[in-house]
Structure formats: structure tokens, C-alpha cells
């Protein structure tokens, strides 16, 4: 028998769930102090996340998708990207977006139902939150194509979930990225759940990373709760892309510690025992244990950090709440570069109706 092809998928882990080093650390992680920015970023995003949930529960924002449990994926990827790289993400990547310079106020504006939240002051070229599953993968391919055409050293980073890897858009994107060797990194957060559908029901593939093989590109699986592993894999993938080495698919294995959204109740489809077990692998505790054990972090620093994060989050929430309601003509602004004459009457009607009902009518 002749073997036409074989494959193997590497798995990367440097810190085990207890925070113990289990593989030679990459250069950037050799000094634990160098990991402190990552730790701080993770704590800040978890603080923000809790606040967002509270704001939803008290009716200040609409449905919100929590990032609880995937802070290492967020921080590891966000910290690796260059400023003029381009991020594509789902609705569960607020952490990376924060690290890219999207303000918490902008994020809350988005969840509060206001398009102004996607007019990022910071990363002007990043794509906005994408709700439709996996469609952002195609956009990333387009951006990557433009980057390559212009010979720029930029990379398109496309984040998606385990469920998204079942979609045609995902396969079409991987395939095109491979055939054209585009500078794009597909970073899959495998948090084990697509709403109520568990990973085992999503695909027969042993790993999601191996879908890269079908596209002829590099694929690697990492422990998504180990920020060092995530960051390392991301740095390698970005370097590969920047040097013309083509695309990479990274599968970060983690767990969705929250409900799918604030309107979901995960206890309908998974057990408390499973959730409790998953908490034992969570990323912030793991890194804190490592940092404490290496005398790089203590209780006093933790308290200062928490206070600082609370203050930042509170200020952002306040700034969001202080923002006036969007003007009704916002509906027609930016519909086209210049609103066609055919729609002037409709715009005027919306404005007139708003004038009748008062400037801040909630309806």
C-alpha cells in the first residue's frame, strides 16, 4: 500500500492547570515579570465582563455574550498582534478588542444597541463585531488578499468559535487562504459549546486544527487556558504570515464558563459537575498561581489591581450611561456615502415622528 498523505497536529502547553511549567518556556516567557501585562489584561477583561453582565441584568444593555473562561485566548492573541494588523471577530472577543484599543465605553455602546460603538477611535481598520457565524472569515481573506497585493507586512487575524468551523464560509476561507498563501491567521476558540451543542456533536474530526490539513495550511492546537501557549502560537503564526509563509489555523482549547448569552441558561444542557470541573482549569487562577509561585505577584498587588480595574470599568460604565440616546436620523446616516434623493422623504418622516414624540422617546 502507498500512503498518499499523513498528518500530525502539534499540541502546545507550557503551564498545566496548577500553573506548573511542563515544557521549556519560550523566550518571551522566561522572565515571569514579562507576563504581568498579560495577567493584568486578563483581570481587567474579566472585571469588564462581570460589569457587562450586571448592566444587562439591570436593563442598561441588551443581550450580552460573556468571555468568562477564555481570557487567556484573548490576551494571548491581542498582545501578539501589531497595531496595523487587522482583527476579525465574533461577539465573544471583547477581550481582544479591548487589547486592540477599542474602549470599554465603545463595547458597552455596541451591546447597548448603538452603532456608534463600532466606530472605533483606536483600531480604525479592525472589522466590527460579526454576529453571523464564520462570515468574517471571508472578509479576512479579502483583507489578507489586499495586504498581499500591496506587499504590506500586515496580517489579518480572524477569530471564530468551534461551531463556526462547521460552516461553508470557514472552509471556503481556509481553502482560498491556502491556495493563495495569504497572510491570515485563523484563531479558533474551541470552548466546547455552540450554544447547547457540544464539541463532540459538531464534528467527527479529532481536532479542529486538522481542518487546516484539508486546506493545505499549517494547523496547531494549543491549551487555550495557558496564555503562554496561546501567545507563543500566535507570535509564530504572525511571523510566518509576515514573512510570506502563508496562513495558519490555531485551535485554542478552552471552556465556556458562562451561559451562551445572558438570555441563555446553560444548566438546561450541561451539568453543574462539568462546570465545576472546568473551573479547575481556568486561565487566570493558573497564571496567578505561576506568578505567585515565582514570587512575581502577591496579595497586595492583587488588591491594587482589582481596585484599579474596578475604577476603570466603573468609569467606562458611567461614560456609557452618560451618553445621550442616538438621534433618530442615525438610521439614515451612513446608509450610503450620500443618501440618494429617493430616501429623503423617509428620513424626514422619521425625524418628524421623533419630533412629535420628544427628543428621547425610548420607543
Amino acid at each position: 500500500m502507498t500512503v498518499a498523505a499523513t498528518f500530525q497536529i502539534e499540541y502546545l502547553q507550557f503551564l498545566d492547570p496548577n500553573g506548573k511549567v511542563v515544557a521549556p518556556l519560550p523566550a518571551f516567557a522566561k522572565d515571569p515579570v514579562a507576563l504581568l501585562p498579560l495577567y493584568r489584561a486578563m483581570v481587567l477583561m474579566r472585571t469588564y465582563d462581570a460589569k457587562a453582565i450586571a448592566l444587562q441584568r439591570t436593563g442598561q444593555i441588551g443581550t450580552y455574550a460573556s468571555i468568562l473562561g477564555k481570557e487567556a485566548v484573548e490576551a494571548g492573541i491581542g498582545a501578539a498582534m501589531a497595531a496595523d494588523d487587522v482583527l476579525f471577530c465574533t461577539y465573544r472577543e471583547n477581550g481582544v478588542q479591548m487589547m486592540r484599543g477599542v474602549t470599554m465605553q465603545e463595547l458597552l455602546l455596541y451591546w447597548g444597541g448603538d452603532e456608534r460603538g463600532s466606530d472605533f477611535a483606536g483600531p480604525r481598520r479592525d472589522f466590527p463585531t460579526c454576529i453571523t457565524i464564520a462570515s468574517q472569515c471571508l472578509h479576512a481573506v479579502g483583507v489578507a488578499y489586499a495586504i498581499k497585493l500591496r506587499r504590506q507586512p500586515r496580517v489579518a487575524v480572524c477569530m471564530l468559535g468551534d461551531g463556526a468551523t462547521s460552516k461553508g464560509d470557514f472552509y471556503e476561507s481556509l481553502n482560498a487562504a491556502g491556495v493563495w498563501q495569504l497572510p491570515v491567521v485563523f484563531a479558533v476558540t474551541n470552548n466546547q459549546w455552540a450554544i447547547s451543542v457540544p464539541r463532540a456533536a459538531q464534528s467527527a474530526a479529532r481536532t479542529l486544527a486538522q481542518k487546516a490539513i484539508a486546506a493545505g495550511i499549517t494547523g496547531v492546537q494549543v491549551d487555550g487556558n495557558d496564555v503562554i501557549a496561546v501567545h507563543h502560537a500566535m507570535r509564530e503564526a504572525l511571523a510566518r504570515a509576515r514573512l510570506g509563509g502563508g496562513p495558519t489555523l490555531i485551535e485554542a482549547v478552552t471552556y465556556r464558563l458562562s451561559d451562551h448569552t445572558t438570555a441563555d441558561d446553560a444548566s438546561r444542557y450541561r451539568t453543574a459537575e462539568e462546570l465545576a470541573e472546568a473551573w479547575k482549569h481556568e486561565p487566570i487562577l493558573r497564571l496567578r498561581n505561576y506568578l505567585s509561585a515565582s514570587n512575581s505577584w502577591d496579595k497586595a498587588q492583587e488588591e491594587i489591581l482589582l481596585r484599579h480595574c474596578n475604577d476603570q470599568v466603573q468609569a467606562a460604565a458611567q461614560a456609557f450611561q452618560d451618553m445621550p440616546a442616538p438621534p433618530p436620523e442615525q438610521m439614515f446616516d451612513h446608509l450610503y456615502a450620500t443618501l440618494p434623493a429617493a430616501y429623503a422623504a423617509q428620513r424626514a418622516a422619521i425625524l418628524a415622528a421623533a419630533a412629535d414624540h420628544g427628543p428621547h422617546h425610548a420607543g
Partner: protein, 326 residues
């Protein structure tokens, strides 16, 4: 100056646009080496190279989706969907993203892309190659839909579409691709979007149409002329947004209107025109607006195509009905 067909005019406009603006790229299935299955993109690969004339893998979502990414980065992608029946797969990207990118980001990102596809019936092809997706695309907010009916208008409107800062779906009438020729000057001049073209002036009845049906409608107008009935013929050209001012002014003059489309009846753009005339032109009308359309049946295979497509007899019957009503 050259006598060229409609598809050659498309080719001429693409060549012109790509020569004038290095950001214009063309992509789709078989558009490079093969010059496109209808030869719309012939010669482009040789002139502009494989990075700007892209043979994509077989994936319509990809073609439309990556155009969105390219456009966000400032390229001017003109993507081709090979046949009308495959265009529906792109509606997810066009509706959910292309039409919304500017609005969603408050103008921070925009989407100056063109999606071209040959559509309409009459070339006796296999299934799925005779679609009229006019209304489906025209229903999408944030985009334009343009449908030329002659080589001159194909050239000028395609240039306008490529230069437009917003997404344009450019529907090309397959049946007219090579049916006749016209003098087209390659002067790089765009025609206006969002405006109708009055092809014949008249006083007795207004005929509104677009795409391949312009051909039959003009013939009907000529026949009516011989009977002493002077028909005004309006080519809508831009299906979204529609230039209703021209249509309303015409009906104010004639008092009677027939709208001709080869798309199925229900929720067709003809319905939109009839509704608008009822809303804003009611007092001018001496007869109800007549719609000449295909029936609400699946497009039959080619053996019955001639029974499905409206033609001159149907247009004449509608005109007669409108004239004799009261």
C-alpha cells in the same frame, strides 16, 4: 468609436477602469485564463496580471465575502458571479455585510464593491441559468442595483458602478449580450446612476422597463407608432434607488402606464412601480397600471421558455387594455 456588443462594452469598461485605477481588481470563476465563460473579462489577465485578475476557487460566498474585505482595505473589487442562479448564494454576504458595513461602523469602513452577474432568460440553457434576481437584490438596504439594456449604457453604467463608493449589484442581460451592436466611445465617461433613461418620448402611454425587455418594448413602441399611438419608453436602468420623478412626470403626461419585466409577478419591481404610481400619481391615471411579467412559476426548462417569458404579444395586450379602459 467601435460597433460593439453589450458584453464587449462590459469588457471595454472593465479594461478602462482597471487601466485608470490600480485599485480595481476583477475576480470570479474562470475570469482570468478563460476570459470569463461569456468572455466579459477577456484580455484582462494579459493586460493587468494574475494579482488583479483573479481566478478564484469555486465558491460564491468566498467571491462576495472577500470582495467586502478587499473593499474595506480600499481596493475596488469587481467580482463576477458566473450565472444568475448562483447569485442567490451571495445574498448572505451582500445583505448581511456589504449593504451594512458603512452603516454598522458609522462610516469608519465602507464597501465600494461591484458584483456582476449575467441574468435573465432566453438563451435556452440548463436549469438555474435564467434567473431574474432583480427584486431580491433591490430589497436589500444600503446597496444599489443597476441593470443596463444596451452596450452604451452597459459601458457608462459599469464605470459609474465601479467608481461608486457604495456596493453595486450589476445585473447583465444575457440575452442581449451579443444580440446587437452599438457605437460606444471609450472615453471613460460614466453615465449617471439613480436615473432613468427616456428612450422614446410620447404622449399616449408610458412604458417602463429594464434589462432585456427594453428590446421588445422598443419594438412594441415602434409598432404602436405605426398605428398612431405615441408611446413613451423609459429604461429604469437603476432598479435601486428608482428615479420615480421621471416615471411620475411621464405618467402625468400620458395618464397610462405599462410596466414590463421578465421577472415573476409577485413582489416584482413592477409591483413597486405600480404601488408608487398609486401613491403619488393616482390622479393622473386614466387606467390601472398594467404589469407585464413572467408568471409565478418556477422558470421552466428551455422547451417551455418561450411560453414563460413575456414578449411583444403580452406587452401589446397590456397597452390595449390600458388604452381602452376609459
Amino acid at each position: 468609436m467601435a460597433h460593439i456588443t453589450l458584453v464587449e462594452a462590459v469588457n471595454l469598461a472593465l479594461t478602462r477602469a482597471m487601466a485608470d485605477d490600480p485599485e480595481v481588481v476583477v475576480m470570479g470563476e474562470d475570469v482570468g485564463r478563460d476570459g470569463g465563460v461569456f468572455r466579459a473579462t477577456i484580455g484582462l489577465l494579459d493586460k493587468f496580471g494574475p494579482q488583479r485578475v483573479i481566478d478564484t476557487p469555486l465558491a460564491e460566498n468566498l467571491i462576495a465575502g472577500m470582495a467586502i474585505g478587499m473593499a474595506a482595505e480600499g481596493l475596488r473589487p469587481v467580482c463576477e458571479i458566473q450565472f444568475s442562479g448562483f447569485a442567490y448564494a451571495t445574498i448572505d454576504q451582500i445583505l448581511n455585510h456589504a449593504g451594512r458595513m458603512r452603516h454598522r461602523t458609522r462610516g469608519r469602513l465602507s464597501c465600494p464593491m461591484v458584483l456582476r452577474t449575467p441574468c435573465g432568460a432566453g438563451i435556452h440553457p440548463p436549469e438555474h441559468h435564467s434567473e431574474s434576481p432583480d427584486a431580491m437584490f433591490a430589497h436589500i438596504p444600503g446597496i444599489r442595483v443597476v441593470y443596463p439594456s444596451s452596450p452604451k449604457r452597459a459601458y457608462g453604467l459599469l464605470l459609474a458602478a465601479i467608481r461608486n463608493p457604495d456596493p453595486v449589484v450589476f445585473l447583465e442581460p444575457t440575452r442581449l449580450y451579443r444580440l446587437f451592436k452599438e457605437d460606444v466611445v471609450d472615453n471613460g465617461e460614466a453615465l449617471a446612476l439613480d436615473t432613468c433613461f427616456t428612450l422614446r418620448e410620447g404622449t399616449d402611454i408610458t412604458l417602463v422597463t429594464w434589462g432585456a425587455m427594453v428590446h421588445e418594448t422598443l419594438q412594441v413602441a415602434d409598432e404602436l407608432g405605426e398605428q398612431g399611438i405615441v408611446a413613451e419608453v423609459i429604461d429604469l436602468a437603476t432598479l435601486k434607488p428608482v428615479d420615480f420623478d421621471t416615471v411620475l412626470a411621464s405618467v402625468a403626461k400620458t395618464g397610462r402606464c405599462v410596466v414590463v419585466t421578465e421577472a415573476p409577478r409577485h413582489c416584482s419591481i413592477a409591483s413597486e412601480i405600480a404601488a408608487t404610481l398609486a401613491e403619488h400619481g393616482l390622479l393622473s391615471l386614466f387606467a390601472p397600471v398594467q404589469r407585464v411579467t413572467a408568471p409565478d412559476a418556477v422558470v421552466p426548462l428551455s422547451r417551455l421558455e418561450h411560453r414563460y417569458l413575456p414578449g411583444k404579444p403580452q406587452i401589446l395586450a397590456a397597452v390595449k387594455k390600458a388604452l381602452e379602459f376609459a
